[in-house]
């Protein structure tokens, strides 16, 4: 990132283009359809990350219109709009659902029988939302719809756009998990960045999808155990489903602090990318 200026210094066309052809094969087939577009507008388009190599090739073959080309910045459009919308709707919803959920849990803070009732956790009121059980339920019953809608929309978008390939944890990522964890937790050497997300990130993000699915499905059972008796059966009945629902929340609670710490550590440009979609000077080449 510090070498931004150094990079830009060499950005007159002759020097800029030679590294490009090596990078081209990765995305060349997708790029063909928009190859005829003008380089300037391509740079401005949302889909431009697929087309930039072609843009550069075209640019290099054109006669140099501007002798003094302005400095260029390396950037990647990492987060398409649907991802950013669902991320923030989800962040707000999770905040409301967890805090109101803790308030609901306070009404019966146990997973055992009502008689005798053993208090498992005394959650401070200050961490909760809604004021009382009924108020918390209102928040929960309102934001469960936002959470569900954004979750379903997110999954549909990921699958249909193919964007999930950037973040889905697959068996191929397993060997990369330990080196990354060693770097973060035990000051090990930093493995080179190979893509938008490292294997540990993929594992974390893919897990949150599982937590989301679990909290939604168990939530349906807790809300309508009689109508969805088959789903209740799948989770071991109403009583046990309450435990699963709580466990899903614990999963989110394990994820969120680590996620926030990483956001702080990686700085403002990284944070902005979840707002604007654009990441300035990403670590990875490609």
């Amino acid at each position: 990132m510090e070498n931004e200026e150094a990079n830009d210094g060499q950005n007159e066309e002759e020097k800029d283009t030679p590294p490009q052809p090596e990078a081209v094969p990765a995305a060349k087939s997708d790029a063909v359809e928009s190859a005829e577009a003008k380089p300037e507008t391509i740079a401005a388009e949302v889909t431009s990350q697929l087309t930039r190599q072609v843009a550069h090739e075209t640019a290099s073959t054109e006669p140099a219109a501007k002798a003094a080309e302005p400095a260029l910045v390396r950037a990647a459009y990492e987060h398409p709009l649907p991802i950013r919308i669902t991320h923030w709707v989800n962040a707000i919803s999770l905040f409301v659902l967890v805090t109101s959920g803790l308030r609901i849990f306070r009404a019966f803070p146990s997973f055992g029988p009502k008689i005798p009732e053993k208090v498992l956790l005394d959650i401070p009121k200050s961490l909760t939302l809604g004021g009382w059980l009924g108020g918390a339920l209102q928040w929960h019953f309102t934001f469960m719809w936002f959470f569900a809608a954004s979750g379903v929309f997110y999954l549909a978008y990921q699958v249909m756009s193919g964007h999930y390939r950037t973040m889905l944890f697959t068996p191929r990522d397993i060997p990369g998990v330990w080196p990354m964890a060693r770097h973060y937790f035990f000051f090990g050497p930093k493995p080179p960045a190979t893509g938008q997300y490292n294997p540990l990130q993929k594992l974390a993000y893919t897990s949150t999808i599982a937590f989301g699915a679990l909290s939604l499905l168990t939530g349906i059972v807790l809300y309508k155990p009689a109508q969805f008796s088959w789903l209740a059966f799948l989770f071991g009945g109403f009583h046990l489903t309450r435990v699963w629902h709580f466990a899903a929340m614990c999963g989110f609670l394990a994820f969120i602090p680590g996620h926030l710490i990483m956001v702080v550590l990686h700085g403002w440009a990284n944070f902005l990318s979840m707002l604007s979609g654009w990441k300035r000077e990403p670590e990875y080449q490609e």
Binding site: N11, H56, Q138, K224, A232, L272, R280
Partner: protein, 241 residues
């Protein structure tokens, strides 16, 4: 997926993309208590509407064998105010009003004369606890037939000896497991469980199962702010499971 952009283009792009997120900021309106009170009330109304739409009138809630029922001593007593409103069981009658052909006073003997249902079902409290109990009584639908109720009406309202009150949708009232319950664990209801007669509906949360019934009314209109003791304070009106 690296693009090389002029700094000003990247900034312009980022601004444009950022603005597209503006609608999400609308959720920030929930941060204002005066607004959020109304919005979450609307959220609950929407949930209730969805609950009504999801309700399957003939789909039975799970039933349990006698060995799965919790002992009587572990079935909690729950009440909002007094557990024993001192109902005069000798002279008790159930007042039937509203959209019915035969309004008037009905005795427990008349209720008991209708076909009896015994069921072991799960009682779920809005607080989160649940118990499997054993209940006996007559179907609300059979009683409504006896009194000549217009089952095309929308609601069943009940009033109780302890000033508790409730209302339920007609579809739930007519559900085959919805009972006017006069027995638990094979014994007449004890006073703290709602003697002599209570509602028992395994498709509804506990707070809908009004005890010490006093009056039943068939109606198409619920008075705002008088739909149920807890509902008027913010619980979901449908309260369905």
């Amino acid at each position: 997926m690296i693009t090389r952009l002029e700094d000003k283009d990247l900034k312009r792009q980022s601004r444009r993309q950022l603005l597209k997120l503006a609608p999400v900021a609308a959720l920030g309106i929930f941060a204002f208590p005066k607004v959020s009170d109304r919005l979450v009330a609307a959220g609950v109304r929407f949930s209730d509407w969805a609950s009504g739409a999801l309700f399957r009138s003939q789909h039975l809630a799970q039933t349990f064998s006698n060995s799965e029922v919790v002992p009587f001593a572990k079935f909690p007593y729950n009440g909002y105010d007094v557990l024993n409103p001192e109902v005069d069981l000798e002279r008790w009658t159930l007042t039937v009003e509203g959209d019915v052909q035969h309004p008037g006073e009905y005795t427990l003997t008349q209720v008991r004369a209708l076909p009896k249902i015994n069921q072991n079902t799960r009682h779920i409290c809005v607080e989160g606890w649940d118990v499997v109990g054993s209940f006996g009584g007559t179907r609300i639908s059979d009683f409504l037939t006896l009194v000549g109720a217009n089952t095309g009406a929308r609601f069943l309202e009940v009033e109780c000896a302890d000033d508790y009150y409730e209302s339920i949708d007609m579809a739930s009232a007519l559900h085959p497991q919805s009972l006017l319950c006069y027995e638990m664990y094979g014994q007449p209801l004890d006073r703290k469980h709602g003697a002599p007669l209570r509602l028992q509906m395994p498709t509804k949360l506990g707070y809908k199962q009004a005890k010490y019934l006093d009056t039943v009314r068939v109606t198409n209109v619920l008075k705002p702010g008088k739909t149920g003791y807890w509902e008027d304070q913010g619980y979901s009106w449908f309260g369905g499971l």
